[in-house]
Amino acid sequence: MNERTRLFGWILLLITLAVVPLFLHSARWIEFLEMTLFVAVLGQGWNILAGYGGQYSFGHALFFGTGAYIQALLQVKFGFSPWIAMWFAISGGVLVGAFVGYLSFRYGLRGSYFALITLAFAEAFLVLSRSLKSITEGGQGVQLPLNQDPEKAIATFQFNFAGPFLSEYGFYYTIFFILLLAYGLTAWMERSRFGAQLVAVRENEDAARALGINAFKAKMGAICLSAGITAICGVYYVQKFLFIEPGIAFGPAKSVEALFAPIIGGLGTLLGPLLGSLFIHSVGEMTKATIGQALGGRPGVDLILFGVILILVLAFLPRGLVGLLEAAWKRLTGDRNA
């Protein structure tokens, strides 16, 4: 697949994502798309560090939760505007990322050690957010006051009472915009020296260092970018649900959600996380509607299925759905150098 076809495909895909909700006058389906894009962004955040940089994190909730808590607390406790709080939330995520990265990469922790460090930090933040009640409200979580004044919808970054269009589509286009940003950044990275050096470090760190690459710097860049994008997901989550608590913020669920989509979709590819998220959410909906119903609406069936899918992808599709797609494209066009 050459650059041109690829660009054309992306434009088509993005236009589709931009207009499809306008034809869906069902809150449920718009919500479905919102969550799909949300996980696609979360996944891209993880993918930058793991897919491109080869540093597998098991604790990306750390950055999500940091972003979410800063966003919520600055508004509730200090009366910050969400639009200001946001910058602190993102910077906070980046700082935590830089700190964890510095500790791990300075001492050359790789592979499972790095995964364990990130997991340990996420767990530590989980415990801290539960126990530091005077700051975080502990286990009961932080609730943002609901704004019901349409005039203040934009100022409060809350679209529930924002008039006909925004109340329906406000959050969809917010996450769509965040997706454009995150994927734009990733696309830029793929075409930059930084990206090339990061991939080189992933492929073979010694060879990369011999060729003049500061591996530490490349990995630090990756974790900061990755953490920043993941923190934006935290900001989005808080504005949408007006609530955050330790389990949601720092629990393992978000860390797992962040890595599912890119692994299934295709590690280290721009499209992977989006494709993976679309696939996971579609399959999730279908299972809920079929098997889930048959079993009396019991939750968790979809999770078991995801586990099975993950194992199948790891076993048979090392390059994920993107690999499958490229193979199919090759067949279709007979293009030898796809």
Binding site: A196, Q197, E203, N204, D206, A207, A210, L211, N214
Partner: protein, 248 residues
């Protein structure tokens, strides 16, 4: 251009390199030979910043680079290749070489274009879009060379780039290496293929069990009895003299 003074390195109890001294002058091809396990790769790794020596100093281009990190040393213009090739297997040949080119070139497009030029120098222009993981051993050796060359070094350390190649491939590679030197890159190489050592190098060092046992013009060095014995064992020099010569 390169001055190595009093380098010592032990691994646990093993003395890998003992008081090694050598110098490589600009515009020359200098070789380092010696039997397996002599400490040649270890010495390269120390020079290029991959290993810290226990004592001694390395001076490159007039400045002390002892203990500096490899990426910094590479940026100063000293680059090494690996005896055990280390390709970026999931990247193409072009992308592999571009990684080296990025040391001097920020732009992606320019680095990729430069990669194509460098590929031509080592005879890889036909393999640019091939995956590095699919290359033959000869291809991988050339890629190792091309990537290092793309960093635009002043001094190139080549660790057995001929190993595993057949006679024709070696024959093809010799002029390539000479060409690199003629373009102004000083070369310091480790080699077991004697034909290559003899025909390429201006000066040769011999390392045996971590100790520099001889140095000089290649033809003098390789006929020295001490060197022959290091390679073939005690008494070998005498036997060979009786047989009327041979190549180690």
């Amino acid at each position: 251009m390169l001055e190595v003074r009093g380098i010592n390195k032990t691994f646990g109890g093993l003395k890998a390199v003992t008081d090694a001294n050598l110098s490589v002058s600009e515009g020359k091809i200098v070789s380092l030979i010696g039997p397996n396990g002599a400490g040649k790769t270890t010495l390269f790794a120390i020079i290029a910043g991959f290993l810290k020596s226990d004592s001694g100093s390395v001076t490159f281009d007039g400045s002390d680079i002892t203990g500096k990190p490899p990426h910094w040393i590479c940026q100063q213009g000293l680059v090494r290749t690996f005896q055990v090739v280390q390709p970026f297997t999931s990247l193409t040949v072009r992308e592999n070489i571009a990684v080296g080119a990025h040391t001097r070139i920020a732009g992606r497009r320019k680095a990729l274009a430069r990669a194509a030029d460098v590929a031509k120098l080592v005879g890889m222009e036909g393999m640019l879009d091939q995956s590095a993981g699919d290359l033959t051993i000869s291809g991988r050796k050339r890629l190792e060379l091309a990537r290092a060359l793309a960093t635009e070094p002043k001094l190139l350390l080549l660790d057995e780039v001929m190993a595993g190649l057949n006679a024709t491939e070696i024959h093809d590679l010799l002029p390539v290496i000479r060409g690199i030197r003629d373009n102004g890159v000083t070369i310091f190489l480790i080699e077991h293929v004697m034909q290559a050592v003899m025909s390429l190098s201006d000066y040769t060092y011999v390392l045996n069990q971590g100790i520099m046992i001889a140095e000089g013009e290649p033809k003098d060095v390789t006929s020295s009895p001490e060197v022959i014995e290091a390679y073939l064992g005690h008494g070998a020099a005498e036997r060979i003299a009786k047989m009327g010569g041979g190549n180690a």
